[in-house]
């Protein structure tokens, strides 16, 4: 039995007992090089842009100062206050609806829970501005409900609409997270409470809710950060009411005042960072509470009054969301929304060729970033999870950063960091793709790390033991196990790239315009029909890809049951996916 791994490169090395060759060291060297290249890219495309924002926002003419921050803070329009005000109200609304939905979905025993979950997932993959667009169509000056049905002539633009639409828009993610937490709570605790003589109502009040509090806290923080980073909703339906995110955008794009934009971005970052740290703190406790989840048996039902309340809220939410989507679907075929509802294909036929080009780009970019991004994510996950090297935990942190940083911050960061040599990328296709890839990298990386941390590292040792080289181990053993994580990363990166706007809006040039930018233009310009058509097409494409790949994922997990815990990785992934704030 020959033990030399590479016959062509067999050169006797007396020190190693003549068994090793040069092939192994050479390959190990190139592998190490590749490893450092990948890890260095994390620094360049994540840390460097962040540093660039901090540099511009915290200095004037090279000397450190807080003047720009102070300026943004004391802005006459009270931007920071507005952001926090809207954030708190929207978060409260979201959490109220989401807690109700979560209880109903997990405890009502209704067969409608499944379609409800489908609806929640569906709304998570919808493009930006869908809520704003539907708001304008339903409640605007010529809105279907306010004007047509009620005959009102209201000015709908202001903070009320922003709070309402953000509150509803963020509910899906919050509800999905809370459903996960509620399902994880050990049902025996509730049984014990009932057994000790407590009523269902007091069991929920004294056992279930306290156990849910870390989940509620974490979800609130995620929602709050999402609200802070969202500039699309206030810019469309805020009217004169502005927030930090919108002003950062207007300063950057409108008047090219980069330092002020950077200062505002830093202000946005601070609450996000705090929220993220709290979130990590709470999530640690969360996992503590949700240990031992494999308890079978029916969950405790809800007391009648709560069943009615949660059912009513869930129904109202579902009805409203359905109405939104139906409105947008019909909007694509109405001659002039609010004036002439005659069905027509003119919006579709009249779609400018630039719009088609943008749609094509969106799909190509999303495909590309999904493939490259999820591959990169798998490699980073492998390196972080399986290799021991200096600075590993630091790089782990860097790889997680994009996920806590508001989209506009990273967009401005890319614009500032890659203006000049040696990496002058402004206006190129590369900067857009790189931004999409690295912003979504935490999703793929976390999914990969979740799979790897469940996989037995001895399996890789076994392959090594049986004569496999390092690259062969990755090909034969690591990658096959990572397939489900790759698919999760692929679906998420594709979806995010299809519907992203928060960051890339700072990087787009006419040559790299994508469908969401086109949609943004149409909504802002009041071209409701065109906007509705674009929104529908984006949704259709994203949905198709999601359904196809989820099916692949599920089919695979059925084939190899017990080997890969796909639901677990999906749940983790869902947490990660939308925790990234503004899209």
């Amino acid at each position: 039995m020959g033990y030399t791994e590479d016959d062509t490169a067999r050169v006797a090395d007396s020190r190693e007992g003549g068994r090793s060759g040069w092939g192994a060291p050479l390959r190990a060297w190139s592998e190490t090089g590749l490893q450092w290249l990948v890890l260095a890219s994390l620094v360049v495309f994540i840390l460097w842009p962040i540093a660039a924002v901090l540099r511009v926002g915290l200095t004037i003419d090279g000397s450190p100062t807080l003047e720009l921050i102070y300026e943004a803070l004391t802005d006459s329009r009270g931007l920071l206050w507005n952001s926090i005000f809207v954030g708190v109200l929207a978060t409260t609304l979201t959490l109220f609806i989401a807690v109700n939905i979560a209880f109903w979905a997990t405890r009502s025993g209704s067969r409608l829970s499944k379609p409800l979950f489908g609806l929640l997932l569906l709304t998570m993959i919808s493009p930006p501005f869908v809520t704003s667009l539907s708001y304008v169509m339903l409640f605007g000056r010529r809105g279907l409900i306010t004007h047509q049905l009620l005959g009102l002539r209201l000015d709908p633009y202001g903070w009320h609409g922003v709070v309402l639409m953000q509150g509803i828009g963020f509910t899906s993610l919050a509800a999905i997270l809370l459903i996960g937490v509620l399902r994880g709570i050990d049902g025996r605790l509730e049984e014990a409470s009932l057994d000790l003589g407590a009523s269902r109502t007091s069991t929920i009040a004294r056992v279930t809710l306290p156990l849910l509090i870390p989940g509620i806290a974490a979800t609130s923080l995620i929602t709050f950060v999402e609200s802070l980073a969202d500039f699309g909703t206030p810019i469309i339906i805020g009217g004169r009411f502005t927030v930090l995110a919108t002003q950062a955008y207007l300063n950057f794009i409108g008047i090219s005042n980069l330092p002020v934009a950077a200062g505002m971005a830093i202000l946005l970052l601070i609450p996000s960072l705090i929220a993220f740290l709290l979130y990590r703190h709470f999530m640690g406790r969360l996992t503590f509470y949700t240990r031992g989840t494999s308890v079978t048996g029916d969950p405790m039902g809800l007391p009648r009054w709560l069943l009615v309340v949660t059912g009513a809220v869930t129904l109202a939410f579902s009805a409203f969301v359905t109405l939104q989507y139906v409105t947008i679907l019909f909007g694509a075929f109405a001659t002039t929304w609010g004036v002439d509802f005659t069905p027509t294909l003119r919006h579709i036929q009249g779609l400018p060729s630039t719009a088609f080009a943008s749609l094509g780009r969106s799909i190509r970019f999303a495909m590309f970033t999904a493939v490259v991004g999820s591959m990169l994510g798998m490699v980073v996950a492998y390196l972080l999870e399986r290799r021991r090297f200096w600075g590993r935990s630091g790089l782990d942190f860097i790889a997680t950063l994009p996920f806590m940083i508001p989209g506009p911050f990273l967009g401005i960061g890319y614009a500032l960091a890659f203006r000049d040599a040696p990496l002058a990328l402004t206006g190129t296709l590369a900067i857009v793709l790189l931004n999409m890839i690295y912003r979504q990298l935490p999703v793929a990386t976390k999914a990969g790390a979740a799979v790897l941390s469940q996989a037995d590292p001895e399996v890789e040792d076994a392959a090594r033991d049986l004569g496999a080289s390092e690259s062969r181990i990755i090909k034969d053993v690591v990658f096959p196990q990572l397939k489900p994580a790759f698919l999760v990363g692929f679906v998420n990166t594709f979806t995010a790239s299809m519907v992203t706007i928060g960051a890339i809006i700072f990087l787009i040039t006419p040559g790299t315009k994508v469908a969401t930018i086109e949609l943004f233009g149409a909504v802002r310009g009041g071209h409701i029909g065109v906007a509705a058509v674009l929104a529908n097409i984006i949704m259709l494409v994203t949905l198709t890809v999601n359904v196809t790949f989820s099916w692949l994922l599920l089919r695979r997990s059925r084939e190899e049951r017990g080997v890969f815990d796909v639901p677990a990785t999906r749940a983790i992934d869902q947490v990660v996916q939308r925790a990234d704030g503004g899209r």
Binding site: E16, D461, D465, A468
Partner: protein, 318 residues
């Protein structure tokens, strides 16, 4: 010597987990490394396998130094504690893997793998997915996967610890039979003394990174040389004579009599456990445990004066 460990040392963060371990193993021998968790036995095994690089010392196989040879080139093969079977491959692919990495054709590799599966009694499960196999089957599969590459040294890392008691005993016999049949030099790591005594040609008792004693199972059982070995394996009593020398005696090596030569003492406690009655006798040298077979039990009572005759008594190093 077929396999030699020379002053093998490994530290993690200032903590020495393997401390100057020197051991010679002959061709075809089955040696058990026995010790409590954290004694360095697994680290020693992983150094032999090439998964851990020693800080100092050498590992020689047939006289050539393997210490810096990567695991994938080293002529050793490990059966891992978790079995570490490839979850995405079926049984035969798992076994053929090591042959495929050696550039053997698929056909030949699978033929050889099939032979090896037959040897461990898994010929019917060649196409089975790993996740559908029982613990015992997975164990055999892992063994087959290691044996098929014809390693010079077979390394077993607590191979039976995930099996239930009955199966463990059967697998112990099977492993020993296959090992003897192939005459393969084997290092087996376990914390289970019964397993070590039952399977090994020689037992190496380890504690805190050092070898305490090397000997045949009978030697380490009957004549432990250190306090640790005496206390770790089986039961027994520590005695200190007037000069302060410590010795050790097994309960079954003590004969109890009402009078005569021997160590005089008083019965302080009696424990009945089926085949034997255990008497605890207080003497001037310490408390002595004595197992008396039921059929010759004289039914002493607590407080009775007795004489303990120690048939085998091991002197312990201080």
């Amino acid at each position: 010597m077929f396999l030699q460990l020379e002053r093998l040392t490994k530290s993690y963060n200032e903590r020495t987990v393997v401390d100057e371990v020197t051991l010679d193993i002959e061709a075809g021998e089955l040696v058990c490394l026995l010790g409590p968790s954290g004694c360095g036995k697994t680290t020693t095994l992983r150094m032999i396998g090439g998964f851990v690089t020693p800080d100092s010392g050498r590992i020689l196989v047939e006289g050539s130094d393997m210490s810096r040879v990567p695991a994938n080139v080293r002529p050793t093969s490990t059966v891992f504690q978790s079995y570490a079977l490839f979850p995405h491959m079926n049984a035969i692919k798992n076994v053929a893997y090591g042959l495929r990495t050696r550039r053997m054709s698929r056909k030949e590799a699978e033929d050889r793998a099939r032979e090896m599966l037959a040897m461990v009694g898994l010929e019917a499960s060649a196409g089975a997915s790993v996740s559908t196999m029982s613990g015992g089957e997975q164990q055999r599969l892992a063994l087959a996967r290691s044996l098929v590459v014809n390693p010079k040294v077979l390394l077993l890392d607590e191979p039976l610890s995930n099996l239930d008691a009955k199966l463990r005993e059967r697998m112990r016999r099977e492993i020993r039979m296959i090992q003897s049949e192939l005459g393969i030099t084997t290092v087996h790591v376990t914390h289970d003394q019964e397993e070590a005594l039952g399977i090994a040609d020689r037992v190496v008792v380890m504690n805190e990174g050092r070898i305490e004693q090397v000997g045949t199972p009978r030697e380490v059982y009957e004549r432990p040389t250190t306090r640790f070995v005496a206390g770790f394996i089986g039961r027994g009593s520590f005695l200190t004579d007037h000069s302060g020398t410590e010795s050790f005696v097994r309960p079954e090596h003590v004969t109890l009599a009402a009078s005569g030569d021997g160590t005089v003492g008083t019965v302080s406690h009696i424990q009945f456990s089926g085949p034997v009655v255990t008497y605890f006798v207080d003497t001037a040298h310490g408390s002595i445990q004595c197992d008396v077979p039921l059929e010759i039990d004289a039914a002493y009572q607590i407080g009775d004066p007795v004489v303990c005759q120690l048939r085998i008594r091991a002197k312990l190093a201080s």
